[in-house]
């Protein structure tokens, strides 16, 4: 069952572009990575799905219901961790979490205790006294305390130290194992690679690729490096070859297609060295941005 279905969703802020014709869907139990640089439209997409902002055109459904018509009902089962966390400065952590829990018709006391222990959150401090990383922890507990079925994480790890990041990822994996669907927006590819099953790559407001992360790495692109006399960039002027660079007689490029066509070019040439490997997500990603 699709938890999120987005259909040609478009948002303009006046004349400036938010996102254009974004369509994708996320299945129940998935961890979907949403990657792109700052300003590509990641937060805009999430804010639309939470109906914090309204679309210029297009539709979006969560749990099979239109997000703009059934917002309050849908949000009962959504947890949201924004990229920038801001809470009522004068409140204590415990009071804020209690206020947050009061919006849900279930008892969250036990969950709050567990989560704040996991994240080592001090409950008696004032929000205004917290460092950015600690506010982020409040955000994490706040986003999870009502056991949501769908989690929106908007660049969640910024401000967390590596230890806490790891704990956070464990937490997300555990939630996911219980069946929680996760929508994970980030520009840090390493963490997307570690956590996600599928990724969508967004660029200048448009979704340029939605793909299984394995497929993206294994079947789509190979990173090829060849050192051989008599071979230069022009030798690999083939369909499917991109990003050709030459350095010290070594040719580097990305290749998508039947690898035999590349091998044929090397046939009969004395090759000094050759490697063909899967590119990192980062390289795939950069490829989309050039």
């Amino acid at each position: 069952m699709s938890v999120i279905e987005v259909d040609r969703l478009t948002k303009y802020y006046g004349k400036s572009r938010g996102i254009v014709d974004v369509s994708f869907s996320e299945e129940e139990g998935e961890i979907f990575g949403f990657i792109g640089p700052n300003g590509a439209g990641k937060s805009t997409t999430i804010r639309l799905l939470l109906s914090l902002i309204h679309p210029s055109s297009g539709r979006a459904r969560i749990f099979g219901k239109d997000v703009f018509a059934h917002g309050p009902e849908i949000r009962r089962d959504i947890g949201y961790l924004p990229s920038e966390v801001h809470y009522y400065e004068g409140m204590k952590v415990a009071d804020l979490l209690k206020y947050s829990a009061s919006f849900y018709d279930r008892d969250c006391t036990q969950r709050i205790r567990e989560l704040s222990e996991t994240m080592e959150l001090e409950m008696n401090r004032r929000i205004s006294d917290l460092s950015y990383g600690n506010k982020k922890k409040v955000g994490i507990v706040q986003g999870l305390l009502h056991s949501p079925k769908l989690l929106f994480l908007d660049e969640p790890t910024a401000g967390l130290d590596p230890l806490m990041q790891r704990r956070f990822f464990e937490l997300i994996r555990r939630e996911n194992a219980r069946g929680v669907t996760v929508f994970f927006s980030s520009h840090i590819l390493g963490e997307v690679q570690r956590l996600c099953n599928r990724v969508g790559i967004i660029r200048e407001g448009s979704l340029v690729e939605v793909s299984d992360i394995r497929t993206l790495q294994q079947n789509n692109y190979k990173k090829v490096r060849v050192t051989a006399d008599g071979l230069n960039a022009a030798s690999f002027d083939l369909p499917g070859v991109t990003d050709v660079q030459t350095e010290n007689g070594t040719v580097y490029f990305l290749f998508k297609g039947d690898i035999n066509s590349v091998l044929q070019r090397m046939n009969g040439v004395r090759v000094a060295d050759v490697t063909i490997e899967e590119p990192t997500l980062e390289e795939i990603f950069m490829h989309y941005y050039e």
Binding site: R47, H54, P72, Y80, P82, H86, Y99, S100
Partner: protein, 269 residues
């Protein structure tokens, strides 16, 4: 309406309500404590008033006032109280939803399972409660001060009640207009300049109404709609003007709902 939002809003406003209530109560108490002095020298005071330039009398709403009667004097003090109440209500109106946005807590609130309508209703009711509490403190302070300082002079209790009731209608106007303006401008960075501007602006319209000649600008200001001197003089509201006031308030609040439900909550930038 969500009880938890109401509670949260009320708590956030508690201190402000106490401060405004005490300020208003103090103005009433201190001014009224001078009443017996005024009343004893009735002839002298009224003669002095008559010598003021008419523009100045108008500015302080002294034209219809007889400072030697309890309610005449009270209505003079009441003008300053109204100014305070206007600024307080303006503060609440301008800040009602804009503070969540400027302090970036709107994302937290609006990603909860509540509708925008529920949010606005809860916030409006909390603000209304705050205004009513201020009104109650004002009423108690007025009754106590009058009974302490009236110096044996009689007054019409019904007219006083009318004046005290008028404060709620009066404040709702500033609450509604403030809310609407805050939704029309792109971003309210600080609430106070807006509420001071609205409060004093409305006051100046009536204070200097004479200066605008035949243009009836004062018809748009609540200081005119609920002119204390007039209410005391007539012993009744000026119904058409009060209706204008209420109509403006209702329209502002209705349009505010319409705008807020369709509003794009600005992201952190």
């Amino acid at each position: 309406m969500s009880a938890n939002i109401f509670r949260h809003e009320w708590r956030a406003r508690q201190r402000s309500v106490i401060v405004w209530s005490l300020a208003v109560a103090a103005v009433i108490f201190i001014f009224l404590s001078f009443f017996s002095g005024f009343a004893d020298q009735a002839g002298l005071i009224n003669e002095m008033m008559a010598r003021f330039p008419p523009e100045m009398r108008a500015a302080f709403g002294l034209n219809d006032m007889d400072l030697t009667t309890v309610l005449g004097y009270y209505s003079f003090v009441f003008l300053f109280v109204q100014l305070c109440l206007a600024i307080q209500a303006g503060n609440y109106g301008f800040g009602l939803v804009s503070i969540e946005e400027s302090e970036l807590t709107a994302d937290f609130l609006l990603s909860k399972p509540v509708s925008r309508g529920q949010v606005l209703t809860s916030k409006l009711l909390a603000a209304l409660t705050a205004l009513v509490v201020t009104g109650l403190v004002l009423s108690v302070s007025s009754l106590v001060s009058i009974s302490l300082f009236r110096n044996g002079r009689d007054y019409d209790a019904q007219t006083l009640l009318l004046l005290l009731l008028s404060t709620v209608i009066f404040q709702l106007f500033f609450l509604g207009v403030g809310l609407l303006v805050s939704l029309l401008v792109r971003r309210v960075r600080s609430v106070t300049p807006y509420s001071l501007g609205l409060g004093f602006g409305a006051y100046i319209l009536i204070a200097f109404s004479g200066l605008f000649g035949d243009v009836k600008l004062e018809l748009i200001t609540p200081f005119k709609h609920l002119d204390a001197a007039r209410i005391v003089h007539q012993g009744a509201f000026d119904t058409p003007l009060v209706l204008i006031n209420v109509a403006v308030t209702v329209v502002c609040v209705a349009v505010s709902y319409w705008l807020y439900i369709r509003r794009d909550i600005p992201a952190v930038s």
